[in-house]
Point group: C2
Chain length 233, copies 2
């Protein structure tokens, strides 16, 4: 078989930025690096792209292998290619970001794996350029979640409006007016109110909602303008 002669081959890795929400703050999933050079330091979940898999497949595989996570939202973010980004050997890294509902996975994570959640605003220094990757992922999350109903990936299937608002407020680091917030979110037609309430957070209780998955798919590509231009209250 013909090959491209005289060209240098490079290592290609994937790194996964995993965001979660615990009901109060945005969190970031990290592991302690297993390989030498910076072994034991905090790191994103990463691994090398294998000969017969695409980067998407590699990201899925690596995430599953290191955390047990499966079937989660996963999207390519950016490829990082500074020749000196990995001091051991030149390695391209294709970064992915993922959004998951913490409550669904936290037991599994703590028992079988040693990945840990960090408060996003208090994450430790990471190896290589991983802090830069996280910063870019945060920015993209804010950008995209302002236009598309993306943050639902971070909540359980049943959630309340106060939970949803707390999540938005965490992502945008601001407060929203709850009257305007609920009006806007309900007007999307994406939410279906359930008969039961979450009685754990208040005396009165808050009605549960579920996503209307038909409208969700249809409206995902619409521009929704979910975020007020000036923060309120």
């Amino acid at each position: 078989m013909t090959k491209y002669q005289k060209q240098t081959r490079l290592l290609a890795a994937v790194d996964c930025i995993v965001f979660g929400f615990d009901g109060h703050t945005m969190r970031l999933l990290l592991i302690q690096r297993a390989l030498e050079a910076e072994r034991g330091k905090w790191s994103l979940m990463g691994g090398f792209v294998q000969p017969h898999e695409s980067a998407d497949e590699a990201a899925k595989r690596v995430l599953h292998a290191l955390t047990g996570l499966q079937g989660v939202y996963l999207e390519q973010l950016h490829t990082f290619s500074d020749p000196a980004r990995d001091p051991i050997e030149r390695t391209l890294s294709i970064a992915y970001f993922s959004l998951i509902d913490i409550s669904q996975y936290e037991k599994q994570l703590s028992e079988e794996y040693h990945a840990e959640w960090f408060d996003l605003s208090a994450a430790p220094r990471l190896i290589f350029d991983h802090n830069e990757m996280v910063a870019m992922a945060k920015e993209k999350l804010r950008y995209k979640a302002a236009l598309h109903p993306l943050l639902f990936e971070l909540l359980p299937k049943k959630f309340t409006l106060p939970q949803l608002q707390t999540l938005f407020e965490g992502v945008y680091e601001t407060k929203f007016d709850k009257r305007n917030f609920s009006r806007k979110l309900l007007s999307t037609g994406l939410l279906v109110r359930q008969a039961d309430k979450d009685m754990s957070a208040s005396r009165k209780g808050a009605f549960y909602y579920k996503l209307n998955s038909k409208n969700y798919k249809a409206k995902f590509q619409d521009f929704l303008n979910l975020i007020p231009r000036t923060g309120a209250r």
Copy 2:
């Protein structure tokens, strides 16, 4: 020096999608592939990432080498990694897209290089997954240009409102109401009317405008909502 043993190294390439605007339609810059396997077929401008350059640097270098273009808008789009995307040998491709003012470069392109402009809606079949790359770039251009003042990259430094509107109409394949269009664009504070007119396209002539570069930088990251929700006329 320590290396990562036992990992497969892969070829890494960059491919550049270059959009231009000729005053009437959106155009795509293509070259005829110089390497064997599909030699002579139409292709994006591509080349391999070299050992001591980042992908951004590689994209700049390749674009300049193949077309003479320099100092143009260039942004990473997506990394394409299907193991079978290049039949010769597995190659990752980091795709970039670029926006240029055709009039400024067309002589150079036709004389020194053999890159050619194609009408975007009538582009030929390209090698490998290049058509898929172009499709993704078109989508991203529409997405981003709806929110950010990006399309100015495609116009000369002095341009008229009718030119700008024709450009937007080309990108979004629709017609806008010119009264609403000019009101919206002028309200951004990005445009500065010049004293002279372009007399080449009409008897009355159309005033030239320039970008207010200070406001341009400040507002680039704002969300501008440049596109009407329903097409007019």
